[in-house]
Symmetry: C2
Subunit: 317 residues, 2 copies
Amino acid sequence: MYYIGIDLGGTKIKAGIVDEDGRIIKKHSIPTGRTRKSEEIVNDICRIIKMLLEDTNISEADICSVGIGSPGSLDRERGVIIANFNLGFRYVDIRDAIQKVISVPVYVENDANCAAVAESIAGVAKGLDYAVLITIGTGIGGGIIINNKLYIGSNGAAAELGHIVLCMNGEACTCGRNGCWEAYSSATALIRQTKAAALENPSSKILELVDNDMDKIDAKTVFDAAKLGDETAIKVVDRYIDILAEGLANIVNIFQPDVIAIGGGVSKEGENLLAPLREKMKGRTFFVGDLKNTQIVTAKMGNDAGIVGAALISKRM
Amino acid sequence: MYYIGIDLGGTKIKAGIVDEDGRIIKKHSIPTGRTRKSEEIVNDICRIIKMLLEDTNISEADICSVGIGSPGSLDRERGVIIANFNLGFRYVDIRDAIQKVISVPVYVENDANCAAVAESIAGVAKGLDYAVLITIGTGIGGGIIINNKLYIGSNGAAAELGHIVLCMNGEACTCGRNGCWEAYSSATALIRQTKAAALENPSSKILELVDNDMDKIDAKTVFDAAKLGDETAIKVVDRYIDILAEGLANIVNIFQPDVIAIGGGVSKEGENLLAPLREKMKGRTFFVGDLKNTQIVTAKMGNDAGIVGAALISKRM
């Protein structure tokens, strides 16, 4: 049997047919066109599902379910996207629309939760009872696996791990509070920190790397400049990793999971990020003597995490 | 069938025989004598167990298990208290000692976890799948109930909720980090904040309430002075509740439990504490639309929580 997963992002709609071990049989990707009406976007999702079935010669009878991963508020019971602010979606009954095309169960799930499910089924958390996935992107997304199931709390809205205040009265956060972890450790925050440092130190290699165009600064820029030995960049990276370590130490003290997997663009830095991160976490997590410690690793599923997790969400509910 | 629970505190050893619904049939309490050798304290625990059986005419055959609640590090597998710093315990094989007196399973568990189990079985979290207990005492203790079971993580050391950093580079914490929630919201921290305010404002009612003896200031003093309209005390209480709200909003964003129960001495303030607390939490927790919100309540089990939770720990494992 097969499963269809849809990763409904602000830039791209990614979709795939996945087997029960999380292997992608076939995938497609189209631009979201986020300014379009929700009906048009939903129509495209239906169209891409039909394409996947045609391309693979897999019949509807061999599909167990369709899952849609989306940021924002969801009504899992009714299969409705309550609000996806990126796309301007409000109360979009996506289950109903998809079931007109394919008559199988349709699930909606938070995108960060989908990424955690993907790691749990086919990635670095495979076979582990306790895992936390931290996705570093526009924000900080959290996904929690407990007893090999997705943890969503009493109302389905749990795991907003980016919205743990780490610095009372600190940086403003998009959620309305001040000092959230996300306001310091997201890719957006790192870009802001990089730009501020480049402005203050115009002779640093940061601006050189982007041809003096501040708009070209992304989350990778400062890591690249630091690798070139640039003092300003080294300081930005060091402070960024220091705060990331503080937030991750909190997660360890709360959950003591088998593994914390770091996903999202920044995680591509690999050991360049993780080695100093682990060093900075030492002494900040609660003493567990000779008991096993949480492993800090990079997520493995990369760009496919959304498709695989959405497709197989029912296996971790 | 009955269960025996031991609450091994720094001041008192409390013990009781409990039925499976968490009702205490008989209890005893003796001073811990914390400077004594561990053998003497363990002997007293064995003696109190025998007393309970004699006083109630309950036979050993009617006892399912014995549970010991203790702060510090525990080895649940072997029934050993690895380290209880209050009592100077190091690798005390309490299961072995107790099984020489009564031949039943013996469990050791963290005291904050016991309190959560007590609320789950017979208190405000009864019948709820998702609950978090926050005990405000010398420190901030956490106990987490997920799917009606105690959550202890992959190594048994989870739920150190007092050691979530809320203010990077802030107040020093006993755990070695800076800015932990506990360093702001424990009873110890409140007493420190009260003393500092009293020193700065010697004409406030705080010192009057304790006959000008700073050593008499406890966690209740500042609430009492605030009730008398004392400006200094009102400010201390307001700031204390504000930070407590920040920490609790973090817990909601992480877990979205059915209920957060506040226990420990400070919780005796009841609605005097909770009403402004709930007000200050508004807008700080993640938006859940018309979904159900976490209820913030005071714990119900009071001084019996340790006995009941330790006795019935096996029902939530």
